[in-house]
Amino acid sequence: MNFPAELKYTKDHEWIKIIDDKTALIGITNYAQGELGDIVFVDVPTVGKTLNAEDVFGTVEAVKTVSDLFLPVEGKILEVNSALGNNPELVNSDPYGEGWMVKIEMNNAADLDNLLSAEAYEQLVS
C-alpha cells in the first residue's frame, strides 16, 4: 500500500496536499478507494462554500455504496476536479494524483497540525 509522505491524512481516509500557504488539494486515500470499489460518481454540491473542519463537503458513490466526504481542515471549496465528471474511476486508478477531488482555500494552516502523518495513517489502516 502506498502512503505518500508529503500528504497529511484524516482518520476518515481523506488526504490533503499543500500547494502553497493558502491552497490545498483533497482526495481520498488508496486504502479508501480499495474499500469502496469501483467509484461511479463524486458529488460536490459545496463549491464556493466555506466549511469547518470535519464538515461534509460531498459524497463519493461506489456501485453499491455512498460515503460522505469530510473536509480535513476549515476552508472554502474553490473547485471540484472536473475530470471526475466523465472519469470518476480516476479516484480508483490514481487516488493521490489525477483522482483528487477538490481544491480548497485554507483558513488556518495551523489546522494541518491536527492531521495524521503518512506513518500514523498507515498504522491506522494496517
Partner: protein, 370 residues
C-alpha cells in the same frame, strides 16, 4: 456467521467478504464492474449455496404448493420449473421462489431466498394440513450459478446431459464433473443465460460432501480456464439482476407489497384450480385497480438512486420510494426501481429523486433496462 461449502475458496481467492443473510459471502473479487462485464460478455460463477431448498413429497404435495403459491404449479411437468411467490394473509409477499417439478404430483423442490429460509419453512409447515412429507435440505445443498453467453459451452464437456440445448426454466438430474445426483437447471438471476447447478454438499462431518463441492468448483474453473471464466460476487449479482428489472426480496418486494403492485401479475394465477392464500384480496385489488406500481426509471440529471430515497413530483410532493438503484455497468447510467402512485407511473413520465435534499430529475422507462 454461517458458511457455504465454498467460503474458504472465496477467502483464498482474495474476495471482499461480507455477511449476507447470515452467511459469510463474497461481495466482489476484482471489482463489480469487471465481474458484471464478465457475466454479460463471457461467463462467471456465483456461489449461491446460501439459498434455501425444500423438498415436498407425497400425493398432496402439489395441492399444498397450489394453496400457498400464486403461480399454477399444476401446469408443471417433470423437468420444468416456474417462478412464483408465497402470498401472506394480507396479500403481501412472504417470499419469491422457484418451484421445480421433479416428479409430477409426487416430488417438488422449492428454492427460496437465504434470508427467508426460516420464515418460509414455518409458512410451509404451518400450511401442511394434508401430510406432505417435508425436507429442508438447505444446509445439505450446494448451489452454483454459472451465467453468461459462454457458460453452457464451457460446462458441456463436464456432463452427458445436453445442457447446450436445455430450454429456459427446464432442468435435468444427472452426473456432473463426476458427482452424482446433480440437478442442472436453465435458470438464473442475470438475464445473461447459463445454468444453475444444485448438488449434495453438506456442512456435516461427512468428508465426501465437501469433496463434491471441491470437485465441481475445480472442474468448472479448469474447463473454463481457456475462456477465462471468473468467480463473481454478490455485488455484480445485484447490478446484473437490476439491469433486468428482476425483483430482490427485501428491496423491491416484501410482506407489504402485493404481487400486482410489483408487476408480478404474470405469475399470479387467479383462475387456477386451487385458490392461493389471500386470493380474494388480490382479486379485489385487480378489480378496483392498484394504487401504486413498481416502475423502472433512469436518471436524467446526475445522481445515483438508492434504496429508500423518496420519489417526488416536480412540485416536491412525495409520490413514492426507491426500492433499488445503482449505476448500471452495462449502460453507463444510473437506474432504479421504485413504487410510485399509479397516476405518476406512466412511461416517460418525469419524476424526481430526493438525493440528499436535492431533487434530481429522472424518467420512467421500460424494464428490462439493458
Amino acid at each position: 456467521m454461517k458458511h457455504t461449502p465454498f467460503t474458504q475458496k472465496h477467502i483464498a481467492l482474495g474476495a471482499k467478504m461480507a455477511e449476507f443473510a447470515g452467511y459469510n459471502m463474497p461481495i466482489s473479487y476484482t471489482g463489480i464492474n469487471d465481474e458484471h462485464a464478465a457475466v454479460r460478455n463471457n461467463a462467471g460463477v456465483f456461489d449461491v449455496s446460501h439459498m434455501g431448498e425444500f423438498i415436498l413429497k407425497g400425493e398432496n404435495a402439489l395441492d399444498l404448493i397450489q394453496r400457498i403459491t400464486t403461480n399454477d404449479a399444476s401446469k408443471l411437468t417433470n423437468g420444468k420449473a416456474q417462478y412464483s411467490c408465497f402470498t401472506n394473509n394480507k396479500g403481501g409477499i412472504v417470499d419469491d421462489l422457484l418451484v421445480y417439478c421433479i416428479e409430477e404430483n409426487k416430488v417438488y423442490m422449492l428454492v427460496v431466498n437465504a434470508g427467508n429460509i426460516a420464515k418460509d419453512w414455518n409458512w410451509v409447515v404451518q400450511h401442511n394440513s394434508n401430510n406432505v412429507e417435508l425436507h429442508n435440505i438447505s444446509d445439505k445443498t450446494g448451489l452454483l450459478a454459472i451465467q453468461g453467453p459462454n457458460a453452457t459451452k464451457i460446462l458441456q464437456p463436464l456432463t452427458d446431459i445436453d445442457i447446450l440445448n436445455l430450454k429456459y426454466y427446464t432442468f435435468v438430474k444427472g452426473t456432473f464433473a463426476g458427482v452424482e445426483n446433480v440437478l442442472i437447471s436453465a435458470t438464473g438471476y442475470t438475464g445473461a443465460g447459463g445454468v444453475e447447478i444444485y448438488f449434495p454438499a453438506s456442512s456435516s462431518d461427512r468428508e465426501d460432501k465437501e469433496d463434491n463441492a471441491d470437485k465441481i468448483w475445480n472442474a468448472i474453473f479448469e474447463a473454463g480456464r481457456a475462456e477465462n471464466i471468473k468467480p463473481i460476487g454478490l455485488g455484480a449479482r445485484d447490478t446484473l439482476r437490476l439491469e433486468m428489472g428482476f425483483c430482490l426480496y427485501g428491496n423491491d418486494i416484501d410482506d407489504t407489497t402485493s404481487p400486482l403492485e410489483a408487476g408480478l401479475g404474470w405469475i399470479t394465477k387467479l383462475n387456477k384450480p386451487t385458490a392461493f392464500t389471500a386470493k380474494e384480496i388480490i382479486e379485489k385489488q385487480k378489480a378496483e385497480g392498484i394504487k401504486r406500481k413498481l416502475v423502472g426509471f433512469e436518471m436524467i440529471d446526475r445522481g445515483i438512486p438508492r434504496h429508500d430515497y423518496a420519489i417526488k413530483d416536480a412540485e416536491g410532493n412525495t409520490i413514492g420510494k426507491v426500492t433499488s438503484g445503482t449505476q448500471s455497468p452495462s449502460l453507463g447510467k444510473a437506474i432504479g426501481m421504485g413504487y410510485v402512485a399509479v397516476d405518476n407511473a406512466g412511461l416517460d413520465n418525469e419524476i424526481f429523486i430526493d438525493i440528499r435534499g436535492r431533487l434530481i430529475k429522472a424518467k420512467i422507462v421500460k424494464m428490462p433496462f439493458a
